[in-house]
Amino acid sequence: MLQAKASRIAAKPLPDQAPKQSVGERLMRALEAAHSNAGQLRWLGPAMLALAIVFPWFTGPFFMRLGIEALLLGAVALSVDILLGYAGLLSLGQAAYFGLAAYISSLMYLHVTQSFWLVALAVSAAVAVFSFLLGAIAIRAKGVYFALITFGAAEILSKIANNTRAIGGSDGLIGIPVPSIPLAPGFAIDLHSNMAFYYVVLTGLVVIYLGTRRALDSGFGSVLRAIRDNSNRVPYLGYNPIWFKLLAYVMAAQVAAFGGLIYPLLRGFVAPHLFGFEVSTKAVVVSLVGGIGTLIGPLVGSVIISFLESAVGSYTERHMFVLGLIFIIFVMFLPDGLVGLMRRVSARRRSVTP
């Protein structure tokens, strides 16, 4: 309760600061506020989930694997949205955690253990430590500097992976065994089946999504949004922005690491490009297309973009051009993304027929 109040107070600009918001910006904020209360688009999450559940019944292995890739990209995009949509931090290096998780899990499968849960635990712990350290450095920087630090860190990791012979250098690691996931004594899921693999990833992502949603709808999320809207005022309300941002950063890293944990099992290999700029920025692109600050948007965006890319890719090799064009259109004309667009449309319809 108190946190919610805090976010409301902090959202007001200080009197001596001229509000630097355009009309569109204010309109967006107003719409956002109206809709979060009205609980608009409640159907979107369940509808997406239903679609995702029935999807493999009608498709072959190619599209199922594409679906899995879309879900993994969705995890990285979700982590971008946690940072950008809630804490106001643009990370251009979320691939760092995707790649880190992919490499650590691959190395463990190859050299240490075949136990999925042990590997997951180790990956989570390692990513937590690394993201805490890097986050402690990065969040002290403001605005574009945060973007550049995260970008630089991911670039360094990519170079290191590229240049270290022990972890395969530019060839990466190949022949990663696919483990089975024991759920109860005597019952394990075999990931060799595409269908089983798909549902495991879907379940994992849904759990992560709901957990993230729960965390960000709480007081923690309110304080984060307050920091995003007016970070100068938040300390006066008794909250230290550093800790909240750091927690959000570590949390986002964990979400991105989920994608990296699964990816090697899908492809059977990892390579330095997993750390690269392409992965990081694609995650930003799909978040923006879906809708920043909505949590569901990045998932919608990653599904749409993944399938679109595959469709365009079968006609022309120039899918990056199309991706760039779509991205520019969204940046310039639809900054609140597809989910924002749907919200506006449904709000208009509601106001017409009360």
Binding site: K20, L148, F151, G152, F327
Partner: protein, 297 residues
């Protein structure tokens, strides 16, 4: 002692001269980035791809028989025009937004994706060689340096000096510096801010084009040449201080020496990693870089 001197003379000195030449070219690219950031607050992620376009334009123009010297004049103008179009159509509508730093960064990223793909459509994925206008070697303190590298050094130096003169010694530069500090105040004097923004963007992109012409005979022309160089130019701008002209030049010379000398003792790819490490270190210790933004004392 003799050995040490010989080592310094014949191993380190050529490496340092090489690094100096690359450093000057890097400074030209970084100057464009830093001017645009200093004035508009825009991080131009398409800058590397404009550099790439500069390289390809040189290749094509020379194929049409324009010759290297024609390309040297025409390409910066062409790339400047592309930049002007980018500012007019893409950047300007976004500037009034509160989150302009983020959205313009995202926009230029989209432009970068498109340009890189477009280059592959037009010129293919092959590497194209560009013939240098000079082929001889110049002997300099018993060290042989390709004449063309000396030319790059000279041309880059002229570009840097001209930029410095324009910004700090002319009326246009005074307007530019004032705009960086307080655009609304400058506008109230009746100065067309839009033109100042447009021209600065154009000039900055033209510098990227110039670097494309200068370096294309050395590195040849290929689709990802922009990305690799952009990352390096960002390291330079971050270390020197975003929006600082002196910083961009000093950091470009410094980082290219670090990379050049380090690659004598460690594999060149690790030398590159070292440069990024240095960049992160600067960000941690002094996030605003070594020098101040244009307009700030």
């Amino acid at each position: 002692m003799e050995d040490l001197l010989a080592y310094l003379h014949f191993v380190m000195l050529p490496q340092m001269i090489d690094a100096l030449v690359i450093g000057v070219a890097l400074a030209v690219v970084a100057l464009g980035l830093t001017l645009i950031f200093g004035l508009l607050g825009v991080i131009n992620l398409a800058h590397g791809d404009l550099y790439m376009l500069g390289g390809y334009a040189t290749f094509t123009l020379m194929g049409w028989g324009v010759g290297y010297w024609g390309a040297l004049v025409l390409v910066p103008l062409l790339i400047g025009l592309v930049g002007w179009g980018l500012e007019e159509l893409g950047i300007r509508p976004l500037l009034p937004r509160a989150d302009r730093a983020t959205v313009t960064l995202l926009l230029t990223f989209g432009v970068s994706l498109m340009l890189r793909d477009l280059a592959q459509v037009v010129w293919g994925t092959d590497t194209h060689a560009v013939v240098a206008p000079y082929s001889g070697m110049v002997r300099f303190a018993e060290v042989y340096v390709p004449a063309y590298r000396l030319f790059i050094f000279g041309a880059g130096f002229v570009a840097i000096a001209t930029t410095w003169w324009l910004v700090y010694r002319t009326r246009i530069g005074a307007v530019l510096r004032a705009t960086a500090v307080d655009p609304s105040m400058v506008a109230s004097f009746g100065i067309p801010i839009r033109l100042v923004y447009g021209l600065t963007f154009m000039y900055g992109c033209g510098l990227a084009g110039l670097a494309g012409v200068l370096l294309s005979p050395i590195y040849a022309v290929f689709p990802t040449m922009g990305h690799d160089f952009l990352v390096m130019a960002f390291a330079v701008v971050i270390v020197g201080g975003m929006g600082s002209i002196t910083g961009a030049v000093v950091a470009a010379l410094l980082l290219s020496q670090v990379q050049g000398l380090a690659s004598l003792w460690i594999p060149p790819v690790w030398a590159e990693t070292l440069v990024y490490g240095l960049m992160l270190l600067v960000l941690v210790v002094r996030p605003s870089g070594l020098f101040n933004r244009i307009g700030e004392a």
